[in-house]
Amino acid sequence: METSGGRSVNGSEHWMAMEGGTDASPRDGGYTSRFVGIGASLPERRLSSEELMASTEHQTGIDLERLTGVRERRIAGEGEDSYTLALGAARDALAYADCAAEDLDVLIVSSISHYVGGLRWQLDPPLSVSLKEALGARHAISFDISNACAGMVTGVFILNDMIRQGRIRRGMVVSGEYISQLGVNAAREVRTVMDEQLASLTLGDAGAAAILERAPEGAPGIEVAGFTTLAEHSRLCLAFPAKIGPGVSMYSDARTIHDVGIEDTVPMLREALDQAGLEFDEIDYLIPHQTSTRAIQKGSEEFYARMGHAPKHVVVTVNEFGNTSSTTHFVAMWKYLREGRFAKDDRVMLLAIASGLEVGIVIFKVDQLVERYGHDH
């Protein structure tokens, strides 16, 4: 079967830009990429939702923990910012991957936030330049990308394409999100549960990194990766420098994003699963973007009803870390790997639904990753 772009000559078509699977492009080189290290960097400081809501300027009457399920989130401390969180996560991932930074062919920084030196948002140079230098990734091509909360999954998509073709052997995508200050700004302005800045109160700080490399022949790895942007919804969430103080403010129509996200993701799930030759219940762990426990639960139920099947487990970490934007999927993976919750033959689906509206899906087998975290069951 010959495929060109998103279309194949036999008539089957993909809405998503697609890598791998049953009718993969014959031009993609035939290699498989796999995750070999997931790292994270979490600030020590914790802020409970109760503490955050006690700091609001107005009497909101909002029970944030009950509404979102977010019990607490990590807060960057003195000397921590997007750059330091990314650097910590990158070093952690290298340790698990058992490789040196100079073995990286590509380094992608995918943070939304670009804070270096406190609340100083750096535009030029890109963060990747100083991160590459600090890591010693002297052979790596480096650049930044930005794709809202889908940034790290977008980086995986890019690296997967390069590795599958044989253009590179190994690459890292890393994000450092110092975004708790959006919650600080929102706490000054939020008045009701319908406020456009409500979602900012769920945010937490974290760094995460993922290293992908070419898998040995026949070894499992990423089976399918797909992405699309449904841009009719591009203006549902906007973030820019705050008017009331340092940092950023974010304004989102969270309810509409949730509704259209669920509605528009269902056909993408079908497409990605079809491409992988799988049913939804053959996914052992679904890791969705972590917005709120209620949104994840409601969304999952909708998916089950529409798809006719359910994955065996749905990963929820938003309760303890909050929404850490582009890092959420990988903070969750890191936690589950460290806690030994994945089995070697488990199949995982990363599902990114982000401002844009971006829909990204990555399906992979965990395989050797579990051993790198001291678990072999």
Binding site: M16, F143, R235, I244
Partner: protein, 301 residues
């Protein structure tokens, strides 16, 4: 199979004065539309849309600027009831090397068959004229449309290099400043500051030359073969000075027009407006920017 440039286009602030200060988004949209029109393509044909511009309206950090461009130009906005293909869009930030970095990513996805048609768009505009400090890039947007062609070589090699020892020479950031003019907070505002040291122009030439010569050596390219040099670094006079260092005749330099000599991320597209790409057989693209980061690419007709 080679990745070829089907078309390129630009849009300048001076030519788009529907508003007093057209923003970066309006410039990006106009350049993207013009580019598609020149290639007789429609937005629906795009599989991939990458924005490489940095200085956005409101210094927007979310969503990806590319998704706004995608919506404005009408590229596969939502999943239809019938089969079709969508557009995937995201942003690449690599300073003044962003456009070539975006081209490199499109090249990869065209080669793998993940995409069939991709466009890289870049635009910059002072987000707050009169408030920003040190912003000196002209308002201009550019777009480059790329596809795969089995009969032509197109982009045959890329090389990227960073020189972090010179990172301090070009810095831009948004930070809170106490400001008597107040802003909405009454006591200050977030302000964009761009700082480029005087020595940057000399250093960026050295870094660009080193990277270009590495690319030439790796590709066994005699620089005398280069019949079009597209060299940009957000610094007036860079292309001519760079050509002299490489020993390339000034006649072979793709010029930046007056008023756009310090164009930032869109500069390579601006240089292509000279229209000489169609006649050139060996084209050397070199972009350099903050970092110092250098991107070089070899394009053969």
């Amino acid at each position: 199979m080679g990745t070829i440039i089907e078309a390129s286009a630009t849009a300048t602030a001076t030519a788009h004065q529907r508003s007093m200060t057209p923003g970066a988004l309006e410039l990006a949209d106009a350049a993207a539309r013009a580019c598609l029109e020149r290639a007789n393509r429609t937005a629906e044909e795009l599989d991939l849309l990458i924005n490489a511009g940095i200085y956005h309206d409101k210094i927007l950090s979310e969503p990806a600027f590319a998704s706004l461009i995608q919506e404005d130009i009408g590229a596969n906005l939502g999943h239809p009831a019938v089969a079709g293909h969508g557009t995937f869009s995201f942003d690449v930030y690599n300073g003044a090397c962003g456009l070539l970095t975006g081209i490199h990513l499109v090249d990869g996805m065209l080669a793998s068959g993940t995409a069939e048609l991709g466009m890289v768009v870049a635009s910059d505009m002072d987000p707050e004229p009169g408030i920003s400090q040190g912003f000196r890039f002209p308002g201009v947007g550019g777009a480059v449309l790329l596809s795969a062609d089995d009969s032509r070589a197109g982009f045959t090699a890329f090389r990227f290099a960073t020189f972090p020892e010179f990172a301090e020479l070009f810095q831009s950031a948004v930070g809170w400043q106490e400001d008597a003019r107040g802003g909405l907070a009454g006591h200050g505002r977030n302000i964009l500051t761009v700082e480029i040291a005087e020595s940057y122009a000399a250093r960026v030439l050295e870094c660009a030359e080193a990277t270009a010569r590495e690319l030439a050596a790796a590709q066994a390219l005699d620089l005398g073969e280069v019949d079009l040099l597209v060299a940009t670094a957000s610094v007036p006079g860079f292309a001519d000075a760079f050509a002299r260092r490489l020993g390339v005749s000034g006649e072979r330099v793709a010029p930046l027009p007056d008023g756009l000599s310090s164009a930032h991320t869109a500069a390579p597209a601006v240089a292509l407006e000279s229209g000489r790409l169609a006649e050139a057989s060996t084209v050397l693209f070199v972009s350099a920017g903050a970092g110092i980061t250098v991107a070089a690419a070899l394009y053969r007709a």
